[in-house]
């Protein structure tokens, strides 16, 4: 697995102040559990994303700690309250120096 990969965030671009914004994130990653073996009986080393963070204008609003039991290409749907116009940043980090991030703009009226 490469040290970074494709990410996708699906969320509205605008919202009314105080509204709930549903955010859907998917990141491309095999999430190798470390419990599998090759045909020759060798264990495939663990290689997973360990941490996901979402910050809203620099303030952390959501965080997740991932373990091998997360499915491949981790998808998480969560929500946040639209408080002010700004940028939401999504960051993933994991084994073997894996890191990826994406930002999304939200206009609050």
């Amino acid at each position: 697995m490469s040290k970074t990969s494709r990410t996708l965030v699906t969320m509205p671009t605008s919202a009314k102040k105080g509204d709930m914004v549903e955010i859907r994130i998917i990141v491309q990653h095999d999430m190798e559990t470390g419990f599998r073996h090759t045909e020759t009986g060798q264990r495939v080393p663990r290689d997973i994303i360990r941490d996901f963070r979402c910050t809203y204008n620099g303030v952390e609003v959501f965080r997740a700690e991932l373990h091998p039991a997360m499915g491949a290409n981790p998808m998480i749907i969560f929500s946040t309250v639209a408080t002010e116009s700004g940028t939401l940043e999504f960051k993933w980090s994991g084994d073997n120096g894996y890191a990826s991030s994406i930002t999304s703009k939200l206009a609050v009226t």
């Binding site: 419990f35 965080r63 499915g71």
Partner: protein
């Protein structure tokens, strides 16, 4: 009698280093993980809803929805939700950390299940209390099996 046999099997396995090789999880492992989350506290049953289909065809990608009844205000909100699977080789599945700014405590994700089992969700509230919910499902094709 059964307990004695189980203890024997476990200790024999540990002695030969089998437990670390076998990708088998036990309910005891999961209880240990939950005890670590709870510390000295006890988790009350309720408020947490864990939705997993009762019959899972493929354990590799199981849609799981967890929600907690909470007003999500500054004084009363969900701080964390921990998902623990009793039958997985590693009981920890995922931990979510929320703040009042999340608006509601409802999260959907996809997890792996290695066996038919009971999955438990523990929610930690801002007042320090713990609540739990659980789901039991049948898994026809387990994850971790394919090469």
């Amino acid at each position: 009698m059964t307990m004695k046999r189980r203890t024997f099997v476990l200790s024999a396995g540990a002695a030969s280093g089998l437990t670390s090789l076998n990708a088998l999880g036990t309910v005891a492992d999961a209880t240990q993980v939950i005890d670590k989350i709870l510390g000295q506290q006890k988790a009350s049953v309720g408020r947490v809803t864990l939705a997993i289909p009762p019959l899972v065809e493929n354990g590799n990608l199981v849609t799981m929805k967890v929600s907690v009844v909470s007003p999500m205000t500054q004084t009363d909100h969900v701080q964390a939700i921990h998902i623990v699977a009793e039958g997985n080789p590693l009981p920890n599945v995922v931990s979510f950390y929320l703040s009042p700014r999340a608006g509601r405590a409802a999260i959907t994700t996809r997890i792996r299940l290695s066996d038919s089992q009971r999955v438990r969700a523990i929610a930690q509230m801002s007042d320090g209390s713990f609540w739990q919910g659980e789901a039991v499902m049948l898994v026809t094709l387990a994850s971790c099996t394919e090469v």
